[in-house]
């Protein structure tokens, strides 16, 4: 296994130890961190490997949240509900991908962005099913304490993150991953050597959707109430991209670390500069991207040592 991937698994193992050191607040933050890492890692499959800048993350996040929410309300247990969101979104994304992924570059970005709007309006208007703009209440799991609940959702999200990371590691070492990188570099040439680019891109889009949808489902069960403007929030599309850019495009380790770094920054800035927090965060992100254009993974600690030796 590549060293970066090993490092990713070690980072994830460290995150799993969070409940040992933190209380309910740390667990909430940890659950969010795992959720965003799932989103960033997933985006990396279609955006980083295949080079298609997808803004559809929020669409599948919301799709997963609503599928799970509606099923939970119908009395289906949590696991099968999330599984349904997982499979449903893979199929939906695969089919949509076969159409949308014919567009390239900016055109694809806009089309994938519109997908968020379309699904949001569908959720808004299917009042009988989703509650429309009034939102959807999701039944509480009865009889468990706040702390047990927090622990359950933290490990749920963490497990999903681990599964996402394993999927990404397996894909990038496989023929599929190799083909996606070919597509990113030169799609015409990729077709010409016998690579079924449409199929590969659709699978990549499906894989980048299904873990996001599962995370959306778990999120819905966690917060007990969802409405279209919350779960179809365009920020769910934008943040994973920023996180991946901060961490390092195309690198699973980078995507995960970028997600953690982003959340830490967001939290620290929000606590200290409540009035101008988005402004400060924006400046920080721009500064980071300017100073480290290839992301966190381009940092080489060994180089610091080397410089020190020569001084």
């Amino acid at each position: 296994m590549k060293r970066a991937n090993l490092a990713l698994l070690i980072v994830l193992a460290c995150v799993a130890a969070l409940p040992l050191v933190g209380g309910a607040y740390a667990l909430r933050l940890g659950t969010m961190a795992c959720m965003y890492a799932i989103l960033a890692l997933s985006w990396n499959v279609v955006g980083g490997l295949a080079g298609y800048p997808s803004f559809a993350t929020a669409a599948f996040f919301g799709f997963g949240a609503y599928v799970t929410g509606v099923l939970l309300n119908a009395g289906v247990p949590l696991t099968p509900s999330i599984l349904a969101a997982f499979i449903g979104s893979f199929v939906l994304a695969g089919l949509l991908g076969a159409v949308l992924l014919r567009l390239r570059g900016h055109y694809f970005a806009i089309a994938s962005l519109s997908l968020v709007g379309v699904l949001r309006e569908l959720a808004n208007n299917a009042t009988d099913l989703t509650g429309g703009g009034m939102g959807l209440n999701i039944p509480l799991a009865s009889g468990s304490s706040i702390m047990a609940d927090a622990l359950f959702f933290f490990y749920g999200m963490w497990g999903l993150l681990l599964a996402t990371a394993l999927m990404v590691i397996i894909v990038s070492a496989s023929k599929l991953g190799f083909g996606l990188v070919c597509i990113r570099q030169n799609e015409t040439a990729a077709n010409m050597i016998g690579l079924n680019a449409t199929l590969y891109k659709s699978i990549a889009f499906g894989l980048s959707a299904c873990f996001v949808a599962a995370a959306g489902g778990l999120y819905a069960a966690w917060v007990h109430y969802i409405d279209p403007s919350d779960v179809f929030d365009i920020l769910y599309s934008v943040k994973p991209i920023v996180m991946t850019l901060m961490g390092g495009l195309g690198s699973p380790l980078g995507a995960a670390c970028g997600a953690f770094l982003y959340l830490v920054l967001e939290e620290v800035v929000w606590r200290n500069y409540i009035q101008i927090h988005s402004g400060v965060l924006g400046v920080l992100i721009v500064a980071l991207l300017l100073l480290l254009p290839h992301g966190l993974v381009s940092l080489r600690f060994r180089n610091f040592w080397r410089k020190a030796k020569h001084v």
Binding site: K175, F178, G179, V181, C182, Q185, N186, T188, A189, A190, N191, M192, I193, G194, L195, N196, A197
Partner: protein
């Protein structure tokens, strides 16, 4: 000699421009066919149409007895139709080895990354790029990238190989080297269609020449006959070439 590819009244139009007009052409197994003509004659379009990049508007194309008129590009590649690009199309971030390995991996069923890389090494050696195997494709010289294109095309185990101006932009030593490779491929029994502007190479390598002009076939035959054909001299070669050729020959 049996026919490997047949185009029957194939036409292709790009909005107002008729790039191919009812081209009817048979290519025999083992032949080295030179496809010549002035710029914009439709040579590359013909290759693109056969490979499914720009499908024909009308007419039929059969390859090894199978109708491939509406075939997709990747399917054509898997059938054994392979090509090099006039403007080289490497996977720039990959090493030379992985470029060729990708071609073997995706065109051959049952290939895995490891076996594809092993095969790729042999193809790189054949075109004389074994020393550059681990160099990224973006850092290769134009002549090397042209040879890399050739290695990629060969990794696809072609039955029919289109060479689209493999010699354009090369110096004479490099051209000589490329010509030698083409001779070797022909000796191995690969059917070759080459688009080429260097008449010296065409006459040296090709067993037959087809001339396109404004999307139409204006000549087809033995190289020595075709270059004397008045229509070809008018459309492409020019009087000077014909006269020089007459005095030399």
């Amino acid at each position: 000699m049996s026919e490997i590819l047949r185009l029957d009244r194939v036409s292709r139009r790009f909005s107002g421009l008729q790039a191919l007009r009812e081209v009817t052409l048979g290519i025999n197994k083992g032949e080295v066919l030179g496809l010549i003509g002035p710029n914009g004659a439709g040579k590359t379009t013909l290759v693109n149409t056969v490979c499914g990049v720009t499908p024909a508007n009308s007419g039929t194309i059969t390859f090894g007895g199978q109708d491939i008129t509406r075939i997709k590009t990747f399917q054509a590649a898997r059938l054994g139709l392979s090509r090099t690009f006039q403007i080289v199309q490497p996977f720039a971030e990959f090493t030379a080895l992985d470029n060729v390995a990708a071609a073997a991996l995706f065109s051959q069923p049952g290939e895995n990354l490891k076996s594809a890389r092993e095969e790729a090494r042999a193809h790189l050696a054949f075109v004389g790029l074994e020393a550059q195997a681990s160099q990224s494709a973006a850092t290769l010289t134009l002549a090397m990238r042209k040879r890399l294109e050739l290695a990629k095309a060969l990794a696809m185990k072609p039955k029919l190989l289109f060479l689209d101006e493999v010699n354009a932009g090369l110096n004479s030593a490099e051209v000589e080297r490329a010509t030698k490779l083409i001779h070797q491929l022909a000796a191995d029994g690969i059917t070759i269609v080459m688009i080429e502007h260097l008449m010296k190479v065409v006459l040296n390598v090709c067993t037959r020449i087809v001339v396109l002009h404004n999307g139409q076939m204006i000549a087809d035959g033995e190289p020595r006959d075709v270059i004397k054909n008045p229509a070809v001299v008018d459309a492409y070669l020019g009087q000077q070439y014909a006269q020089r050729n007459a005095t030399n020959g």
